[in-house]
């Protein structure tokens, strides 16, 4: 039954994300994930739910190759993450947008510069960068903050900048770790609308959250993690 639930719908596109029997143990013996298998189709939006410490963040770190699994296989768009060269990892990361729980913004750079970074590393044209960043600033309601250093913003604003940066290059896969943790209901609505728009345009989105309000009543698949295991 679990196996069936964790597979993408039969009629959906081929899988973009494949996680097969993945275990992650941190030294000396902290089991963060145990035998986790799941997959997400191209253009699918899925929720990864569960209480704090369930292993959601660890799973997202494994998906963007920030960590490597102790056991098991992870494939993104057909690429086995365990067997990628350094250069290939960087190329793959350019196609993955990540909104980190701790934001990972550069505090001395402006909001605009922070959001532009993923596009800069891909050498997009300055015009393209300007218009995309401005569009995202508008959509997330932080346009008037664009010249402010990211370090001077409130946590809610920083969270929106982190989300905008993850979405900036319209990635193939977007991973969002507790994206609404610091946001009020109205701003949560803006963020979810942005995710929906990206998803409609073909991005695969995995949202790790324990905020029931954003996944209750939605038609998207949910994976529930508890103590490192998938239920």
């Amino acid at each position: 039954m679990l196996e069936t639930l964790n597979q993408p719908p039969a009629a959906a596109s081929p899988a973009l994300v494949e996680v097969v029997k993945v275990t992650k143990i941190y030294p000396p013996d902290v089991v963060a994930l145990k035998n986790v298998s799941l997959s997400a189709a191209k253009g699918e939006l899925v929720f990864l739910t569960g209480p704090s410490g369930a292993g959601k963040t660890t799973l997202l770190k494994l998906l963007c190759r920030q960590e490597i699994p102790t056991k098991g296989l992870i494939e993104i768009d057909g690429n086995d993450l365990n067997n990628l060269s350094d250069n290939d990892i960087q190329k793959l990361r350019q196609r993955i947008g990540v909104a980190y729980q701790d934001f990972k913004l550069l505090p001395r750079l402006s909001v605009f510069q922070n959001i532009a970074m993923p596009m800069e590393v891909q050498f997009k044209s300055p015009g393209e960068i300007r218009s995309r960043v401005t569009e995202l600033l508008e959509k997330l309601g932080i346009r008037e903050k664009q010249h402010k250093p990211a370090g001077k913003l409130s946590r809610g604003e920083q969270q929106r900048v982190a989300i905008a940066r993850a979405a900036a290059s319209s990635p193939l896969l977007l991973l969002a770790d507790e994206p609404t943790g610091n946001l009020d209901a109205a701003t949560t609505g803006l963020v979810m609308a942005l995710f929906q728009e990206l998803n409609d345009n073909g991005s695969t989105i995995i949202i790790a959250t324990h905020d029931e309000s954003i996944y209750q009543g939605s038609n998207h698949r949910k994976f529930e993690l508890k103590q490192g295991e998938l239920f």
Binding site: L92, R93, I96, P118, V121
Partner: protein, 295 residues
């Protein structure tokens, strides 16, 4: 083109964020280049002076008796057997006497009652530049002294030796200061850039998470190193030029500086110092970023 634009923008951003440390490194490079090229300038001027003195160097062989033209020819052949000479002049006692009188000028009347025959017959030998170094000159003098009929050989030994030792000392200082300054510059540039990179470690980590390639991260750092080398050496050489002009304007008419014409470093040597500095600083920056990317 776009790659170059991004790398350039990123470089300017980096320099703006760490301008204090960058300025200190630039000053270090300027000072290193200035010290090294200052010693090198003295050394090259000394070499030039040595060459000039070498052209005027002659060995005088005092002979026991006058030589007939046939004997002079034989003597010339024996001298040439050691090595090439530019010219040999035979000076008779009369010629030597006249020369002495000229040198004495107004005091030449002291020679009034003297017979020129008290002066020996001599040969003045102007060696070819191949045998103008100190060791060869000494060997040549020894050889001449042992020729039949030779009584004494003079060539201003003490002065030539002192000058030779001074040039040797300068060469030693240039080599030592050059080596030390090269090592210091590389160490300083590499460590300063490493410090600035260390302060930007979080930024580099984020850049890696966003998919920045090694060339995207390395590029600006290498350009920083290149710019440090270029401006450091350029300003160092410019400072040396102004120092040189000042010395020439204020001291060229004083004492021993009158003996030779002061010249600035030739363009080729200045270009070599500039390129060397650029290479060292770029290498220093490459070392620092490689160490950091390996972590």
């Amino acid at each position: 083109m776009r790659f170059a634009l991004f790398i350039f923008t990123q470089t300017l951003r980096n320099i703006r964020h760490s301008w204090g440390v960058q300025l200190m490194t630039l000053l270090t490079v300027i000072l290193s280049v200035l010290i090294f090229s200052f010693f090198y300038l003295i050394y090259s001027n000394m070499l030039q002076a040595g060459e000039k003195f070498g052209e005027e160097l002659r060995l005088t062989v005092y002979l026991q008796a006058s030589l007939s033209p046939a004997q002079q020819q034989e003597f010339t052949e024996k001298v040439a057997a050691f090595g090439k000479v530019d010219r040999i002049s035979f000076i008779t006692p009369e010629q030597a006497f006249q020369r002495l009188a000229r040198q004495l000028g107004n005091d030449s009347d002291v020679l009034a009652d003297l017979n020129p025959a008290f002066l020996p017959f001599s040969a003045e030998i102007y060696p070819h530049k191949d045998i103008r170094n100190l060791t060869r000159i000494k060997e040549f003098a020894e050889y001449l002294k042992n020729l039949p009929g030779a009584q004494k050989v003079q060539y201003g030994q003490a002065w030539v030796e002192r000058f030779g030792h001074f040039v040797k000392l300068l060469r030693f200082i240039v080599i030592i200061s050059g080596t030390l300054l090269i090592l210091t510059t590389m160490f300083m540039v590499s460590n300063t850039l490493r410090l600035t990179l260390f302060a930007r470690q979080d930024e580099l980590k984020v850049l890696r998470y966003l998919g920045a390639t090694n060339s995207y991260i390395k590029g600006p750092v290498l350009i920083e190193g290149f710019a440090l080398g270029l401006f450091g050496a350029g300003l160092g050489l410019a400072a040396l030029f102004f120092l040189f002009q000042w010395i020439r304007n204020h001291f060229s008419s004083a004492g021993f500086l009158q003996l030779f014409e002061l010249r600035f470093l030739p363009m080729t040597n200045s270009a070599i110092i500039l390129l060397g500095s650029i290479m060292l600083c770029t290498l220093g920056s490459l070392l620092s970023i490689r160490r950091l990317l390996k972590k």
